[in-house]
Symmetry: C2
Subunit: 269 residues, 2 copies
């Protein structure tokens, strides 16, 4: 599982506070902890007003790079900010995200065409999120056409099928599972990603729904996740699922991660 | 999910102690609590020496029937004890279990042929537990041939594919998943059952493995489980999984179970 550590996000109140107060240590600690917990990318999202987004994201990226070599996932709804922020990164990372909305792909794909940068692509377009799997796969086909045009290998793409809240769904996650399976069938090397908490919106005991969702999503082919690697139960559940799915012979990874204190009752320092 | 409440089992030290001390209240309370938590059957297993097994199981069954109408699952490795104990039950329950080992089926199937009794059937025979799915399905075919002979509808059978510990497996649970899917394909009305804790034997933080296993097993078709209904996280995970799989429109069952205090932070009485 490719973990995209989600904690440095101005939408989280404690992070917003740290950004406003220029609390560099808070950000550095979050970066270090997520890196130590096994993140493949550290997501950086300013969530501030437009006029200061670029300078804020630069400040955040610089702080992350002071404490870890883990690549950055540049996270902004504005792809032009993503494009500018690429310059602050010492090594290729991940753009989070493009979609078939507006000219997002036209802005980003040329920039990452001849590079090792990866990119999250959401299955939505100017009409929003298609409700049935057929239409979502049409959006996916559009993205892949563009990727081919710019010679971006599927292995550099993380497709986010956009999981919606379960409480208003009539078929559970069946549509999403169908979409994930078809995507992986068409492009075995592509990554499928997503957040793991939208699903439980408005429901009680959200962590149970989030955890069960993650197990089913991994089973259907999700191999990348925008998640909180400091959530020990979630991380343990990922390792357990990989072992159950036969991706971890004799549970060596599961046992190793436990010994490294990545999940289970916290060991005393 | 058909819950077979597993707590009244002499293999559990506190229950063994209660049996030895003839602590009737302890047994009654366990029966009542498991019934309240949503058990479809209350499993009763004496786990005592042969000479006192039948009288012990009678004592247990009588106590359970004092406090609940929930049917009994008679649990003994000795099918002759199961056959005798059927007489103590006020209503049809479940025999736990037969297999293709020895004459087990020949003893039990005639007794339940013209009844509403249900039966757990394990996929093993005199040679033990077959390691590959093909051989397990051969054992299954043998069981179904016998069931047909005695006119036992598949809907009265709970097939236990016998999940073995993950730590010694090279393919995770792929073999078991394959077997479950094929069984449900052949007989859509049959039940697939199993315990949810063998899987995690010898591994750290067993509850994570047990929970992830249950999610994957339900996803593949398991619809019955010999589990502890007083384990709130496990119960919540079952409700969450059913909702995610589209078996619980708008999460009404999930929300209802939460309101009835079946999972989540325990409400104060």
């Amino acid at each position: 599982m490719i973990i995209i550590g989600e904690k440095i996000n101005g939408a989280i109140p404690s992070v917003a506070k740290a950004i406003a107060a220029k609390d560099a240590d808070f950000i550095r600690n979050l970066a270090k902890a997520q890196s130590d917990a096994g993140s493949a990318f550290i997501d950086v999202c300013a969530s501030v007003e437009n006029s200061i987004e670029l300078e804020t994201i630069k400040w955040l990226i610089d702080l992350v790079q002071e404490v870890t070599d883990t690549p950055i996932a540049i996270d902004s709804p504005n792809v032009r900010i993503c494009a500018e922020a690429m310059k602050f990164c010492r090594k290729p990372g991940l753009i989070n995200s493009v979609s078939m909305e507006g000219d997002k792909i036209e802005v980003v794909f040329p920039l990452i065409a001849d590079s090792k940068w990866e990119c999250v692509a959401l299955l939505c377009d100017d009409t929003g999120i298609p409700q049935d799997s057929e239409k979502r796969l049409e959006v996916f086909a559009g993205i892949m056409k563009k990727a081919k045009e710019y010679n971006i290998d599927p292995s550099r793409l993380h497709i986010d099928p956009l999981v919606q809240m379960l409480c208003t769904s009539e078929d559970g996650i069946n549509t999403v599972v169908e979409v994930i399976k078809e995507i992986k069938k068409q492009y075995p090397n592509i990554h499928v990603t997503g957040g793991a908490s939208n699903i439980s919106y408005n429901l009680p005991v959200r962590k149970l729904v989030n955890q069960a969702f993650l197990v089913l999503a991994i089973n259907s082919g999700m191999d990348s996740g925008i998640i909180n690697p400091l959530n020990r139960d979630m991380m343990g559940m990922i390792y357990a699922t990989e072992a159950l799915l036969g991706q971890d012979e004799y549970c060596m990874e599961y046992i190793g991660a436990y010994r490294e204190d990545k999940f289970g009752p916290q060991k005393l320092a």
